[in-house]
């Protein structure tokens, strides 16, 4: 449902994506791993048009992603995004954050959107926090609200940009738990992450990216347990055995 063909992207003189070709099937969970600055987040940001790309093609359900074209709005309602720093709207409650898109973008009747919003908050374990503002929530709770906000758009896929990197270690589990449930329910997910345990257990496929190219990809277990490429081996060694 998401297809990237020979995607190039440069920031000034720095080419961050050097011909990325990859695809994500429906209900597939794909984890993107790799060192910082390798272009992982840029791939996600190009898929839903937060960044433009210089050449190549990105298709979502057959529609070309072009962040200058009006069609980008329709694509964004199909492909939601969850950010490293949550980016909840601080002036609105958890529930208001969740129903903002359905009511103001999709024009759902408010009563219906609110009912579904409450159900989504319950789904991420935050039914009792509906009226709390983001400032009153922990990082893990905020990220779960952000996931509920993404789900409220009834997307066909969700992009996760290092969803647990800004969390205290003891809060990582609650967010990964919610993501694992989503994966079990058949949500198509692309996850940029440093959580190798999550990638191994939940992902169908793993892409290892370094220097703007896909160095290695394949079934999660084979890439993570028996990496073929020296750069993948080196990266995994440094992540899994930092000392």
């Amino acid at each position: 449902m998401i297809e990237l063909t020979n995607v190039h992207k440069r920031f000034g003189s720095n080419e961050v994506l050097k011909g990325i070709t990859a695809s994500v099937e429906k209900s597939e969970v794909v984890c993107i791993i790799g060192p910082s600055g390798s272009g992982k987040s840029t791939i996600l940001r190009c898929i839903n048009g937060l960044e433009s790309y210089d050449s190549g093609d990105i298709l979502v359900e057959g529609a070309r992603v072009d962040n200058k074209a009006p069609s980008i709005v329709a694509i964004r309602t199909q492909v939601s995004m969850v950010f490293q720093r949550f980016n909840l709207f601080p002036h609105r409650t958890a529930l208001e954050n969740v129903v903002e898109g359905p009511i103001y973008v999709k024009k759902e009747p408010p009563a219906q959107a609110l009912e579904r919003g409450r159900a989504l908050l319950a789904q991420v374990g935050l039914a009792e926090k509906a009226d709390a503002h983001p400032g009153q929530l922990s990082g893990g709770q905020q990220q779960r609200v952000a996931i509920a906000r993404a789900l409220a758009m009834q997307p066909k896929a969700i992009l996760f940009d290092e969803p647990t990197s800004a969390l205290d270690p003891e809060l990582v589990g609650e967010v990964l738990g919610v993501m694992r449930k989503l994966a079990d329910d058949g949500m198509t997910m692309v996850v940029v992450t440093h959580e190798m345990g999550f990638a191994r257990d939940v992902a169908d496929r793993v892409l290892f990216i370094d220097g703007g190219v896909i160095v290695e990809q394949g079934a999660a277990k084979s890439v993570l347990n028996a990496p073929q490429h020296a750069r993948t081996q080196d990266f995994l060694h440094r992540v899994l055995h930092p000392l």
């Binding site: 995004m81 720093r85 709207f89 903002e100 898109g101």
Partner: protein
């Protein structure tokens, strides 16, 4: 002191008529400057080069012309072009335009202070530019903008006295008229100053309230 009290009783009713016009000019030009300032600021951050360039140019032109010249222009020059304004209209429009430049810069600073992640989050749930502004950016920018906005209100209250130069009989002009006919300069201008101060104090308290609220956030 006794003289002052006697003068107060005598002149206060006339000066209060001036207060009414001062309030009308201040509120009128505050509203106009807010609307225009917001328009210039939105043009400036629209990302459309023609609009942001136009707005930037306008702001600089407005900032570079003294308020009093702007008032003279509207009141004395515009009739030559077939646009005759009353003194009150000219003063509200002139002050409104003059202050719109400062309001615009204030609003722009508030808008640009909003974290880019907020805008991206709005975009990823499919919001367009205007919806993002209305639902996400402006409600948050208001909190940042309010304390300086309060200061602009105080400055406008005082600068409304410039309307006296085009015959609007607001507080300063009423004071000047009484003083020049009675020669009681001390009493009259002390009264005028106290009346401006009295009107400013609630605004000063309002600014402090805004600042406390902004700091708590």
């Amino acid at each position: 002191m006794q003289n002052f009290l006697r003068d107060t009783v005598e002149f206060l009713p006339i000066l209060l008529q001036g207060v009414w016009l001062t309030v009308v000019v201040t509120i009128g030009s505050l509203l106009l400057s807010t609307v225009l300032g917001l328009l210039w600021a939105l043009m400036r951050v629209s990302g459309i080069r023609v609009l942001s360039g136009l707005s930037g140019g306008l702001i600089n032109v407005i900032r570079g012309i003294p308020i009093i010249v702007l008032l003279f222009y509207l009141y004395f020059v515009m009739p030559d072009f077939g646009v005759a304004l009353t003194a009150l209209q000219a003063s509200i429009i002139g002050l409104g335009i003059a202050y719109s430049a400062y309001q615009a810069e204030n609003f722009r600073a508030g808008i640009e202070a909003i974290d880019k992640g907020q805008i991206e989050a709005a975009q990823t749930i499919g919001m367009g530019w205007w919806l993002t502004m209305r639902r996400v950016v402006l409600p948050q920018a208001v909190r940042i903008v309010l304390p300086p906005y309060g200061n602009v209100m105080i400055m406008m209250l005082k600068d409304s006295s410039q309307a006296s130069t085009i015959t609007v009989a607001e507080l300063a002009l009423q004071g000047k008229l009484i003083a020049s006919s009675t020669f009681k300069n001390t009493s009259v201008f002390t009264l005028v100053a106290l009346m401006y101060l009295t009107m400013s104090i609630p605004l000063i308290l309002l600014v402090r309230h805004f600042e406390n609220k902004a700091n708590r956030k």
